[in-house]
Symmetry: C2
Subunit: 347 residues, 2 copies
DNA sequence: ATTATGACCGCAAACGTTTGCGGTAACATT
DNA sequence: AATGTTACCGCAAACGTTTGCGGTCATAAT
């Protein structure tokens, strides 16, 4: 590490500019503050002449209303907060992009908070959202979040909360989530279609509702489809465990063809490492299929076939729901987005 | 997609709670607002008895100061803004985590803005930061950002700006960035050490300063180290172009051993696809080395050797610099973090 | 000549804090 | 008895807006 430090930054500290205010404009123009305020918002009470003078001066000195003063008066800001446990996640990325795009169009700005998957930090963020009276919050809760009363409290202050992805169990809230069952079913159906006999399914922590849903559905569809399929399932808590599981399976199947279903990107990553380590050829030696947001599957050749959990579409749905809430809808809605199969060449 | 909508959410809209204020506490306790205010901040003028009464009632009714009112009075908030072009980037992820951790400890909260690599949006975000009088902003500018006067303007309002990663050329600002030359040199040295004869270097857009730095240094070190190395270089604007370039190279070298240097993760992704497509064995048939934030290299087996550009360390440095600025430092400092080589088994 | 009608504008209160300053009572000091 | 000291506390202004209401002119209607 090295440092270059030698340039004096001028005297920006000494003559710190103070922002222009309504008062200054008013004094300059010899009118009252109220007149200026009204002129700037094109109020009918103000003459065209005055309006012009005010607007000219305002743009000249680059007037911008002080958001704190405005908010203190109006209790109304146009910003959304998005709260996520982590950012290293393509799904969140696409979700956020999607929301932002539309929100901006409707005059809302959005900023992102990161809870680090820590309920304590999450609580702090929530509080700050409440105090700031944001227009609404989109949140994917931490895996440790038990108590959802802080969220309903937000609602109590008139701030709509839309849960997405990681959502609480309670029915009394607005939820937008990916169709776990549907995605699992899609993958299972694809395996059936290809007529594969040996299947290894690798799933995450069974304590997570997302795992339960995918696990159950996958098993069921496979069982319904053909009884001569030999399905092994295993639960891996991280990428490493997934790799180990795949490694063992490769030993066990001893050259026999089999397919691996990966419940998540993390698991897929581990499995692909095992495949490479053993120098297996995807498709020829082993079939791979996954549920994914689409980033990891495209890193391999052949690209991995996966059931897509698109943050993009979910974002649109979420913002739509949010606008409804702001408009006064007081129903709790659970929206489940069904995914589609993106065919790579891996199965 | 399907929707469940049937539950009425109670009447949270009707009896929307209004937040507790100093005034309410004052009325309840028959003291003045000033007394309450002072009691809550443990002012010596207030008796222990009064303080206790106030504090009790305050926690009881869950009083929290209205940030807008506070700010209007004090012009002082404790929050940092981090502005990034995109979120799908492990480097930013680690940078942000790193900053957040320390900032929280010092009583600052941080939120994240996303510019979508659009200078227009970036401008809007900057303005909002100025109006909100955030305590400081960390920013990685868009690739299209030409005019840095909006940033110096922030400085003019007493808001420190720390650039990171994508930084402007000007010397008159605080910059924290990865050591492009150093990382390239590290990779080149590794290639020399392994005594490899044929090298393909794939770089990004030559218009980007980051490309220029890495390109130059890589070439120089290689040339200095050994004259019998045959180096081909090519510029790829995206993952696909990188894949094509690697594909061609594989044809050209016709079985001869060679190594590929990838300037970035995006390029590495393309190259690895080509390698898999041609069924080459990494290490045995082809050597791979990259500059990376460490996410992609770990997805393959053997893991890819790379020169690390750690957002984590950079974050620490950036926050440190920020605190200095807030404390009044008026020097412009350019800090360059040198990277280290993370050995996988790919070369 | 009086009254109605607009068009245009300003007063002042309110949002919820913070803080300088002044005030009162009790007690200690001359 | 007059003065000084100390411990507490409240008044009021200020931060920068928004907005209901009332006011002043000029012009049009009676």
């Amino acid at each position: 590490m090295f440092v270059v430090e030698n340039l004096y930054l001028g005297n920006q500290v000494r003559n710190m500019r103070l922002s222009p205010t309504l008062k200054k404009i008013a004094e300059q123009l010899n009118v009252s503050i109220s007149t200026v305020s009204r002129a700037l918002k094109d109020h009918p009470d103000i003459s065209a002449e005055t309006k012009q003078k005010v607007n000219e001066l305002a743009t000249l000195i680059e007037y911008d209303p002080n958001p704190y003063a405005v908010n203190l008066r109006t209790h109304n800001n146009k910003e959304f907060a998005i709260v996520v446990p982590s950012l290293s996640n393509f799904f969140y990325h696409s979700f956020i992009s999607s929301i932002e795009e539309d929100a901006r169009q409707q005059g809302y700005s959005v900023f992102i908070y990161r809870s680090s998957n820590d309920p304590q930090i999450e609580l702090g963020i929530l509080k700050s959202c409440r105090l700031k009276r944001v227009s609404g919050v989109f949140i994917s809760i931490t895996t440790e979040t038990k108590d959802i009363s802080p969220f309903t409290k937000l609602d109590g202050y008139g701030i709509p909360v839309i849960f997405f992805d990681k959502v609480p169990g309670s029915e009394l809230c607005n939820k937008i989530c990916v169709g776990d069952e549907h995605a699992a079913a899609l993958a299972a159906a694809e395996i059936l279609k290809k007529g594969i006999k040996n299947v290894l399914g690798i799933f995450g922590d069974l304590n997570m509702s997302i795992t339960q849903a995918r696990f159950q559905k996958f098993k069921t569809i496979l069982a319904e489809g053909a009884e001569k399929i030999k399905l092994k399932t295993v639960h891996a808590l991280n990428s490493n465990e997934a790799e180990q599981a795949a490694l063992h399976a490769i030993e066990d199947y001893k050259g026999e063809y089999f397919a691996v279903f990966c419940m998540s990107d993390e698991i897929l990553a581990g499995v692909m490492k095992a495949v490479q380590r053993k120098n297996l050829r995807v498709l020829q030696d082993v079939g791979i299929i996954s549920i994914s947001d689409g980033m990891i599957p495209k890193l391999f050749y052949p690209e991995i076939t996966y059931a897509e959990t698109s943050g993009f579409k979910l974002g649109k749905l979420a913002l739509n729901r949010m606008m409804r809430c702001i408009a006064g809808s007081s129903f709790a809605q659970t929206i489940v987005d069904e995914s589609r199969l993106i065919a790579g060449g891996s199965i």
